[in-house]
Symmetry: C2
Subunit: 239 residues, 2 copies
DNA sequence: AACAGAAGGAGAGCAGTGCTCTCGAAAACT
DNA sequence: AGTTTTCGAGAGCACTGCTCTCCTTCTGTT
């Protein structure tokens, strides 16, 4: 089972190939169900039925329903992450930080609206008694990684603000600093955190039905909100 | 009990009193379970077991599990709403709008941290195939109602900004305007929406485990974030 | 006070779930 | 070729939401 001795990633034996194929099929079928039914209602037996196999056979590939959900978590994070990464790299003017923020926000919301149950799995209430294992945190950081790079570029372009946050806050966000980079000051890190919080909150409120009687045109509303939430707004406004 | 006064709401017959009592007991037991197990795992049979009755008897009071969840939704919204209302009214200086915003935010987060599963029920991913009936939207507006009053007071105290939002946005948020009041201009309404989005997003990210490796001292971090999210920040900073 | 009818409890039962076992067959390794 | 691992299938357990029937108890009316 040791992966370090197995240099060849591609499985050679027929059985290993079949296993990889079926593992993918199971995840695909489960994600297909996620498009209809929501994470809590996702059923191992329904996946088995969809693939024409016995439900017990699925457990040869995923030892529990939670492990299957973990795979879906990874899949969703990776899909969202690659969408955001691609869109950000498509912005030609790298110094147009506002546009890059808008692109990131539009991307995340666009993907969330297109895959509401996947978004609910990623950013909604977690399944109780289940904490994400280490394998999911790496894909989860891809989309926030794009934001981190943006913050770095903002810090590199503009003048570095003095850290105006209390020492307790500075100490508390060392994890963010390690992830983003030490050249980004506390104020900008917190601005990014506020922007990210606002983005996730706005999408969650919309998708989870908290704006039904408040907002009619969600596209226009979100676009305006995105401008307000931009971490660069004060800096851009100050020029 | 004050219910025994001769208002027609008070049930007079023994059976009606027993029904009201048992209905309350069921909701209480369900909310007690919510403190441990999460909305999706909430079990009607477990409630019945807790109360020492047959599971089928519970269906005499709540025709389905979703109806029970609706009652929990109402109960949670009312509890959170009354907490926030009380805290806001305890702020003596009504013109200290920043303090009132901070109080609101601290209240919501404090309640959410104390009742994570209740918060997940209210603001997390909704149970699939279930849309909240009309009876829940009134309690749901209590906490946002406090924010609405705050925005009204800000608008009344400060100079009215010109609506700088596009016409499409103005048309889209007529629902918010009707709820908040026409004297609040578009810009302030959107600032309130952004602040509320950021608040819900920040709490959701914390409670749903998205800050595990990023933030160590959540209290200090949230306090700083709350200042950044304040809808009055630009106005206060501009004075 | 007597009685028809409504209300509510208990239990059995149905269809579904996650998950665990055993058993036999097929593939892989030696 | 023989041995060991791998994997599919099926039965089964404990649990769920929910329905149906049966029967007791309470209620409003005569």
């Amino acid at each position: 089972m040791d992966l370090d001795t197995d240099h060849r990633r591609a499985p050679r034996t027929a059985r290993a190939m079949a296993r990889a194929e079926l593992t993918r099929d199971i995840v695909d079928s489960a994600r297909k169900q996620l498009g209809v039914v929501g994470p809590a209602q996702l059923s191992v037996r329904a996946v088995a039925r969809d693939l024409g196999m016995a439900s017990s056979a699925v457990y040869r590939y995923f030892p529990s329903r939670d492990h299957l959900l973990t795979a879906l978590l990874e899949s969703g994070y990776n899909e969202l992450g690659s969408v955001v990464e691609e869109a950000d790299s498509a912005v030609v003017d790298r110094n147009d930080h506002l546009l890059r923020w808008l692109t990131l926000g539009r991307c995340v919301r666009g993907w969330a609206v297109a895959h509401p149950y996947d978004y609910a799995l990623l950013f909604g209430s977690p399944v109780p008694g289940y904490d994400a294992p280490q394998s999911t945190i790496q894909p989860a950081t891809r989309v926030t990684g794009v934001l981190a790079v943006l913050l770095r570029d903002i810090a590199a372009a503009g003048p570095v603000q003095q850290p105006v946050v209390p020492a307790a806050v500075h100490r508390s966000i060392t994890g963010m600093h390690e992830f983003i980079g030490t050249e980004v000051d506390d104020g900008l890190v917190m601005a990014g955190a506020a922007a990210w919080s606002g983005l996730i909150g706005a999408i969650s409120l919309e998708l989870f039905g908290h704006l039904v009687n408040a907002v009619s045109d969600h596209d226009a509303y979100f676009e305006e909100l995105l401008h307000l939430l931009a971490p660069t707004s004060d800096r851009l406004a100050a020029h």
